[in-house]
């Protein structure tokens, strides 16, 4: 009986040209249940959303699917389907886009639309003149059918002929149609002749009375209407609004003798004459002067109450509403025709016509009066509200935007999970290291350690920490927990050992650990994984929460409902420490009460500012945003804004606050900004707090972590929640909170420390956050990356922290860095750093490359350390093992010590042309070096003759070149650690890229590793041919330009091969490409390796 539905409602289902899907039909016809109705609404909503947020290059597709879906789901047609409105909307929308004019889908929708029109022929004229679908047979077939329906067979045929003439696709269909059409017409004619209806029974047209036609007057003195009112009695047929029934010949069976010659030209001309005539869509219904519903007060004029007659000048009304159609104006109409009329009386009688001002718009007074409408910038994406068929509220748009981002985040989280697994392995390694170190240190300082442990009793702490780590890294790997626990225990005590000098500090440290743990442990793992998206969530949620507060008084009184779960998301509670008493009580490992108290107090550190005059400030920046075409209400605004949020309605009973909140709800949102001094005070507090906390720690940490803290915004939830709480509870809370602004004191120390801890634990989050940024070399990002390292850089012995500013580096000065003294010589100046050569005056041989950075981000050092860690024993072959870093207050200095510091560039200048044999070995070396780097997931980004330094072995000439590198890479300023910054997409800014003359090469790049390959190519090219690489594209391959030629090359084929491979890597992984290349080169030089070797290293120019 399942078929019963479609069987019973055949009269109510509109037949579709393409048929219907039976299952959908069944579903829809059975849709009296509310369930399927809801699902239909959901699907509709999904389409509406897709229309607004479609980002592909075929926007018609969404509309197409939407329309088809509507046809299938609303078999009855009818108003709820909105089929006509949908069609019209889509067609009008893509009328602007002439790439769809020849699209069959577009034409198909037009043809459906035509069925709705009262005058389909007009619509076909329009299509023809616009050139929509003129290349498709379907247009002509449909058009001819229309004519045939109306009985105009002549035109119908002409249309088909025209289609064939224009070679519309498929012509066969047209020809077929034409044939059948002709046979039908023939049959009709034959039938009509046989029936003998072929009589000329029509009246002459003039024999009909004409409505509204003027009649000739009779009589000389008095005008009298004539008796005969047809024919000669009518004054003129051409004047006035004469409407007479056209003597349509098709109505009565007459047919004209077909004249091929005439028709061919005449109708084509007719068709052409309609071209370019249409500027807008012809109206679909017979109704005229329909008023399209739109926003009120479009005229933007405030009607003065007391203005006399014409409140709104006619011209403004005209300009406000111009008709869609062109008004036909007769030439003579411009002449003022003076009709005799009565002169208006001086006073208006009581029963006079209504004043036009009142007629114009009775709602004017009700309408919102806003004079500077044009200046107003809407803070929501206004253009998208009406983009689809349904109206979307801006909150809905925001929600969609948010959902999209949320999904993206979720995806990232999945990736991150994988990363976390790797991370965990690393952590385990570290734990082993820590254990070893512990053993050593315990032997040395056993009494002290014992004392420490006696003070703190680290057991609960470590237990909680472990738990946290267990959830952190991988839920499924619970069994790894035990080892974690041990390891973390070790780490905790190691931290203590590191700071044995200051016991109280350690206490602080530990306590902050406790606080963190207590909060971390009670949230579910999903929360934690979600924490990446938290950054954008939290502002959102909080903003919503405030909305709730303002709008709903009852909410204000109920304190616990501060964070309602919006959008079905988990309350993003975790990282910003929302105090939850009930949850706290359930925790087994409850930290000491005193710590908890601290915890609740510091949250008052936010500032509550009455929102009086702040609204105006955000507008300026918002305007800029809007002009740039950025969607103004995206989360970035909140994320990037440094301003802490504030409670909008701190006093629930205060009607002023309430009304202000209501105002905010009902008007476009303006970002509230704090005044400068308020903002500063917050920052200052924050900094003060961190300084207090860190001052007792080693100064490295301060300088390292100070900056990130500045950059890190105050988590607004803290203030919002706590202030909301307190203000709801007591009216005196504002005083409390304002006093707490000044006296952050020790509470904030804890806060800061806690953040540092979080920074460590959440390193992965911050990383993934940053990697999306445009400029991977951004200092802020690097700062954050470094600050979130598991092992702080300061723990390395080569890392030195100096008090005071960077000493002056000038050419020829003698300088002491750490224990060493250098004579420095300026080598190069770059944007962010200067490079010096340093010679040790005491040890004449030892020279060094000194890089002086103007910032405090020891990135070079970090990369060097990472390489050392990731490569292990191989590291020494190609990189400088004597790398140290000096961090000053306003800069940092990295020192690469070696016996000499000749760059490849300098070396090459010793010859006219570098010996090929040497180039071969250098190339081999370079390939091996970069391969190593890439296996460590680090991209150098700036491989060039300037950044390659000859190794000491090169000069000694004793080392076997196959094992150790001849060259070393320095200058990691443009390096990327792809473990941390995986999402780099712009390659343009790599120095290698910028030095390339042909930037097109760049478009082939799919990942950052390829940048280094190009760097190698460039370097080798420089060595071989002594100039910049010049590439050109031949077919699909990049080849060297004609300038790159050198006469005496032994291995011409090898080099050609080499460049071809390295320039055209395609999608192959760089490591495999590099090893392939190395293999190739080795194989080629294998036979005469000895000779080459001698050639390369006996021709040393320096001696």
């Amino acid at each position: 009986m399942a078929e019963a539905d479609w069987e019973l409602s055949k009269e109510n289902v509109q037949p579709l040209k393409q048929g219907r899907d039976v299952n959908t039909l069944k579903d829809v016809l059975a849709q009296h249940e509310a369930l399927s109705h809801i699902s239909i609404q959901e699907q509709k909503q999904a389409f509406e959303t897709e229309i607004r947020f479609y980002s592909g290059n075929d926007p018609l597709d969404v509309w197409d699917r939407y329309i088809k879906w509507t046809e299938q789901t609303f078999p009855h047609g009818g108003t709820d389907s909105n089929h006509l409105a949908l069609l019209e909307r889509a067609l009008k929308l893509f009328l602007k886009d002439d790439r769809y004019y020849s699209d069959l889908r577009y034409l198909g929708h037009w043809l459906k639309f035509v069925d709705y029109c009262t005058d389909p022929l007009e619509m076909f004229d329009f299509l023809n003149s616009k050139g929509i679908g003129v290349s498709h047979a379907a247009l002509y077939v449909a058009w001819a059918e229309r004519f045939e329906l109306l009985g105009n067979t002549k035109k119908a045929e002409a249309i088909l002929q025209e289609g064939i003439r224009l070679n519309a696709e498929p012509v066969e269909k047209l020809q077929h149609n034409l044939r059948h059409f002709q046979s039908r017409v023939f049959k009709q004619v034959v039938a009509s002749i046989a029936e003998g209806t072929n009589e000329n029974s029509t009246l002459e047209p003039t024999q009909q009375r004409t409505s509204l036609g003027d009649l000739k007057r009779r009589g000389q003195k008095r005008a009298m209407a004539p008796v005969k009112r047809v024919g000669s009695g009518v004054q003129s047929l051409n004047q006035g609004l004469g409407h007479y029934v056209a003597p349509a010949q098709e109505q009565c069976g007459t047919f004209e003798v077909f004249n091929e010659n005439r028709m061919g030209t005449q109708l084509v001309e007719e068709l052409k004459s309609t071209e370019k005539q249409w500027s807008t869509l012809p109206s679909t219904s017979a109704k005229e002067n329909e008023i399209v519903p739109g926003p009120w007060n479009t005229s933007g004029m405030r009607v003065p109450r007391r203005s006399s007659v014409h409140a709104i000048p006619f011209s403004t009304v005209l300009s406000a509403k111009k008709p869609d159609f062109k008004l036909y104006e007769e030439e003579s109409s411009h002449e003022e025709t003076m009709t005799p009329r009565k002169i208006e009386p001086l006073f208006t009688p009581v029963l006079s016509a209504r004043k036009p001002s009142k007629e114009l718009n009775p709602l004017t007074r009700v309408q919102v009066q806003n004079c500077n409408e044009n200046k107003e910038v809407s803070m929501y994406s206004k253009d998208q509200i009406y983009a689809g068929l349904r109206e979307f509220s801006f909150e809905e748009l925001r929600a969609e935007e948010f959902k999209k981002k949320y999904k993206a985040r979720m995806k990232e989280q999945e990736d991150k999970l994988l990363k976390l697994k790797q991370e965990k392995e690393e952590v385990e390694q570290l734990i082993h290291m820590a254990e070893l170190r512990m053993k050593e240190q315990r032997e040395h300082s056993q009494p002290e350690t014992q004392q420490n442990e006696a003070i703190h009793d680290p057991l609960p702490c470590s237990a909680i920490t472990t738990r946290e780590f267990g959830t952190d890294i991988n839920l499924s790997e619970r069994n790894g927990e035990d080892s974690d626990r041990n390891g973390l225990n070790e780490i905790a005590s190691r931290l203590k050992n590191a700071n044995l000098s200051d016991c109280t500090d350690t206490i602080n440290h530990m306590s902050s650990d406790l606080v963190t743990c207590s909060q971390m442990s009670d949230k579910n793992p999903f929360d934690y994984l979600d924490s990446g998206s938290r950054d954008c969530n939290k502002e959102d949620l909080e903003y919503e929460a405030q909305f709730m507060k303002c709008a709903d008084n009852s909410h204000l009184s109920s304190v616990s409902s501060l964070m309602p779960p919006f959008l079905g998301l988990p309350p993003a509670s975790a990282a910003f420490n929302i105090f939850d008493e009930t949850a706290e009580a359930e925790i087994q490992n409850k930290p000491p009460a005193s710590y908890l108290k601290l915890n609740t107090q510091w949250r008052r550190s936010g500032i509550l500012v009455p929102s009086q005059h702040v609204l105006a400030e955000g507008i300026c920046s918002a305007a800029c945003d809007d002009l740039d075409g950025i969607e103004p209400l995206n989360e970035d605004h909140f994320v990037s804004s440094d301003y802490p949020n504030k409670t909008l309605g701190p006093y629930p009973e205060n009607t002023c606050d309430f009304s202000r909140g209501a105002h905010l709800v009902s008007t476009p949102f303006h970002r509230n900004t704090l005044t400068d001094d308020q903002e500063n005070s917050i920052k200052k507090n924050c900094i003060d707090g961190s300084k207090n906390a860190l001052s007792s720690l080693s100064p490295i940490k301060e300088s390292l972590f100070d900056q990130p803290l500045h950059a890190k915004k105050l988590s607004p939830i803290q203030e919002a929640s706590e202030d909301g709480l307190s203000s709801a509870a007591t009216t005196s809370s504002s005083a409390v909170s304002s006093s707490s602004v000044g006296g952050l004191g020790t509470m904030s120390d804890l806060n800061v420390l806690e953040k540092l801890e979080l920074g460590h634990l959440n390193s992965c989050e911050t990383n993934s956050m940053n990697s999306t940024s445009d400029n991977p070399w951004d200092l802020e990002i690097r700062k954050q990356l470094l600050s979130s390292l598991l092992v702080p850089l300061s723990s390395f012995p080569e890392f030195h922290v100096e008090n005071g500013p960077v000493p002056t580096f000038e050419d020829g000065l003698e300088l002491t860095l750490g224990l060493q003294t250098f004579n420095i010589k300026l080598a190069a100046v770059h944007e962010q750093y200067r490079v010096f050569y340093g010679t040790n005056p005491r040890l004449s041989l030892s020279r060094a490359i000194i890089k002086v950075h103007s910032h405090t981000v020891p990135w070079d050092f970090y990369i060097n350390q990472q390489l050392k860690m990731r490569l292990g024993s191989k590291f020494n072959n190609y990189f400088s093992q004597n790398h140290s870093c000096y961090l000053f207050e306003n800069g940092c200095v990295t020192v690469d010590r070696g016996k000499n510091c000749e760059t490849l560039q300098g070396l090459s200048q010793m010859w006219e042309t570098v010996p090929e044999a040497l180039v071969v070995f250098l190339t081999l070396d370079l390939l091996a070096l970069v391969e190593l780097m890439h296996t460590a997931e680090i991209v150098h980004g700036g491989i060039a003759p300037e950044t390659l330094v000859m190794d000491d072995r090169f000069y000694e000439g004793s080392a076997c070149p196959s094992g150790d590198g001849l060259v070393k890479l320095t200058d990691f300023a443009h390096s990327l650690d792809l473990k941390l910054q995986s999402g780099v997409v712009t390659f343009m800014k790599f120095p290698t890229m910028q030095s390339l003359s042909n930037k097109e090469l760049l478009f082939g790049c799919t990942n950052a590793y390829q940048v280094d390959l190009l760097g190698i190519a460039n370097t080798v090219h420089f060595l071989l041919f002594g100039g910049e690489i010049d590439v050109s594209k031949q077919g699909s391959l990049w080849t060297l330009g004609p300038t790159s030629s050198r006469m005496e090359l032994l291995y011409l084929e090898l080099w050609n091969n080499f460049f071809e491979k390295i320039l055209n890597t395609g999608g192959a992984s760089s490591v495999s490409t590099l090893s392939d290349l190395r293999q190739t080169v080795t194989e080629v030089i294998e036979p005469d390796y000895e000779i080459l070797y001698n050639d390369a290293f006996t021709l040393m120019p320096h001696d």
């Binding site: 078929e3 479609w6 069987e7 039976v22 379907a138």
Partner: protein, 199 residues
Amino acid sequence: MAGKVAAREGITLKGSASIVSEFFNYGINSILYQRGIYPPESFTRVQKYGLTMLVTTDPILNNYLKNVVGQLKDWLCNHFVQRLVVVINSIETNEVLERWQFDIECDKTMTDNSQPREKSEKAIQDEIRSVIRQITATVTFLPLLDTALYTDKDLEVPEKWEESGPQFINNSEEVRLRSFTTTIHKVNSMVAYKKIDSF
């Protein structure tokens, strides 16, 4: 009297065959009319199964159908037929657009001499009526056919009713219709139609 009544109510193999073949006659006519394959003016109204059925007046078509149905009746008596398929082809592309399939299940134990089965004619007619109604109602989902269509070319060879190929449709949707049974022959109907994606 009583014997007469019993004979009327019972159904023999021959009677069943004629009922089924009659159904096919009207069914095919119905399809041809509903799907607009022959011009509607060439049909005339006939009361059958309590419905107003449209039957073609086209002499060639009538002749053909008579032949087919007659042959079918013979085969039904001999349990030869398993399936009857009406295929609608596009004359332009010779592509199969619609395929009406009637599967016939025969009770092979039934012979001319065996005892008639108990089923009232009215009940069978009711079943047939609902099938015919369904054929009419398929307009709700079947695609519109252009006028340039004809039934299977088999039409042209009325004497020899050969088994044509299975004539399956690519990218089709199948809809099972109701079935009816005379207790001896059971007819399952099904229609398959081509899904059209273009506009």
